[in-house]
């Protein structure tokens, strides 16, 4: 009797509808795959089982390769971006010189730079990682700068009234904690962009990685492989976002936030 009640409490209409929606989508997939030629819509089993068997030998290496690019590029770019934004807030002269340059770089679609980087550096790892570094840098510089600007002056003045005399003290005690939520928001955006760019960069002439699997499959019209690759990419991006959200909650326990 009790178990039945627990089940009823768990199975809210919301969850049932949600489950139904996913099941329906998968069913639609199945049905479409039988109706439409497999080059367009292969069935779920062919996609997963077929691709897994085909790519098993290189799967681990590809995932590691892609992840490495994303992580290295993202970390370097983000940390540089945050540091530069700090430098700009610290020193007015730096801000005065860097500000217009950043405003000039902002509208450039970073993807458009890939062919240029390849022309400059050649077809190695560096242009791909560099693109991710560049994008993460721009995103994080802009978000951090905005975050620092948006610190309520009330808090700054209050700190000064209470005796925080040096710039360093004010920075450490007020600005850093205040901007953390916005920096994490910027990190989420940069992470998503990094995965996007890693995919695009790998499409244009890579020899390893998930993107290479995708573009290779496309060349042979192996739609299963293409979908499988996209699925893996999305999985990685999703896991990354979960990780960031976990850190978000841990670090920002003190923020005044409505229940997320």
């Amino acid at each position: 009797m009790k178990g039945w009640k627990m089940l009823r409490n768990f199975l809210t209409l919301r969850k049932i509808l949600g489950l139904f929606s996913v099941v329906t989508a998968v069913l639609v997939w199945y049905i479409l795959s039988m109706v439409v030629p497999p080059i367009f819509i292969p069935g779920p089993e062919e996609v997963f089982k077929g691709s897994y068997n085909l790519y098993k030998p290189i799967l681990a290496a590809s995932i590691v390769s892609t992840l490495l690019r994303v992580i290295v590029g993202f970390l370097i770019g983000s940390i540089l971006g945050i540091l530069v934004a700090f430098a700009m807030a610290w020193n007015k002269f730096i801000q005065w010189t860097l500000d217009p340059i950043i405003e000039l770089i902002r509208p450039i679609p970073v993807i458009a730079l890939i062919p240029l980087f390849i022309l400059w550096i050649g077809l190695g790892e560096t242009p791909r990682i560099l693109i991710i570094v560049f994008a993460s840098f721009v995103v994080l510089v802009v978000s951090t700068r905005e975050a620092i600007k948006n610190v309520p002056t009330v808090c700054l003045n209050a700190a000064r009234t209470l005796g925080a005399s040096t710039k360093g003290r004010v920075f450490r005690t007020i600005i850093l904690p205040a901007i953390t939520p916005e920096i994490i928001a910027g990190i989420k955006i940069a992470a998503a962009a990094s995965f996007d760019l890693a995919a695009a960069a790998e499409f244009i002439g890579a020899q390893r990685g998930l993107g290479y699997i995708i573009i290779n499959a496309k060349q042979f019209l192996y739609t299963n492989g293409v979908i499988f690759g996209i699925f893996l990419f999305s999985l990685l991006a999703w896991l990354a976002s979960l990780l960031i959200r976990y850190f978000d909650r841990r670090i920002n326990v003190w923020t005044e936030r409505e229940a997320a």
Binding site: P100, L119, F195, F203
Partner: protein, 267 residues
Amino acid sequence: MSKNTLHKLREKLVTLLTPERLTNLSTVVALVIVWYAISTIVHPLFLPSPAEVFGRSYFVYHDTLGSDILYSLMRIVLGLVLGSLLGIGLGIAMSWSKIVEWWFDPVVEIVRPIPVLALIPLFILWFGIGELGKILLIAFGVFVRQVVTTREAIKNVPSVYLKAAQTLGATEKAQLFRTVIFPSITPEIIGGLRVTVAAAFGYCAAAEFLGAQRGIGYMIIRARRYLYTFAVIFGIILFSSFSLIADRFVRYLDHRINIWTEREAQQ
């Protein structure tokens, strides 16, 4: 010129040339000078001079330039319009009806992490390298972003306003939506639109790199094969310029539409 018109001219110049614009202008000028300087030292394969970038690109590509630009812009605009309408529409529908939300929530959450650019080969397999595939790709990317932004915006409407409206007699949902929610979310949605527009340019560029027969991205890829660095840079400048214009346009719309919002003095 009489003293009066001279005076008026001076006033206009002073208001036009704000310190912000002056610094921006001077940086651009400085960068162009640096560009010239470096291009004379470095091999033209790496950094062609500004003259070569603009002059030679025009010379080599002038017959296709107009149609290239037009095609790229058309794809972006169509993709943006389609994606935004559908995205905002679904976002509003999900906030209107709980059933719609519960049904589409898992779908949205599953589709969200997909890197849009990773879909390009799939879209090429499905739609070929014609217009439809690219427009749909851009529309898809825009759609996913807009649904999320719209839902967030509606969630962030202070419930105080909704309760106040209900106290004042707004009983039907339609009324609440029309009078409170729509005006409330417009700033956030237009703000999100700026980011989405920039992203749309990125999607278009990537789609054109991987499979196109026309467009700025196609020109860039072709130029790269011939090692025409000047044309690659020219294409990047084209993309960036249009992206900048689009961004300014959205900002202008922002000011016009949101003239009633309580905003601190703009940056």
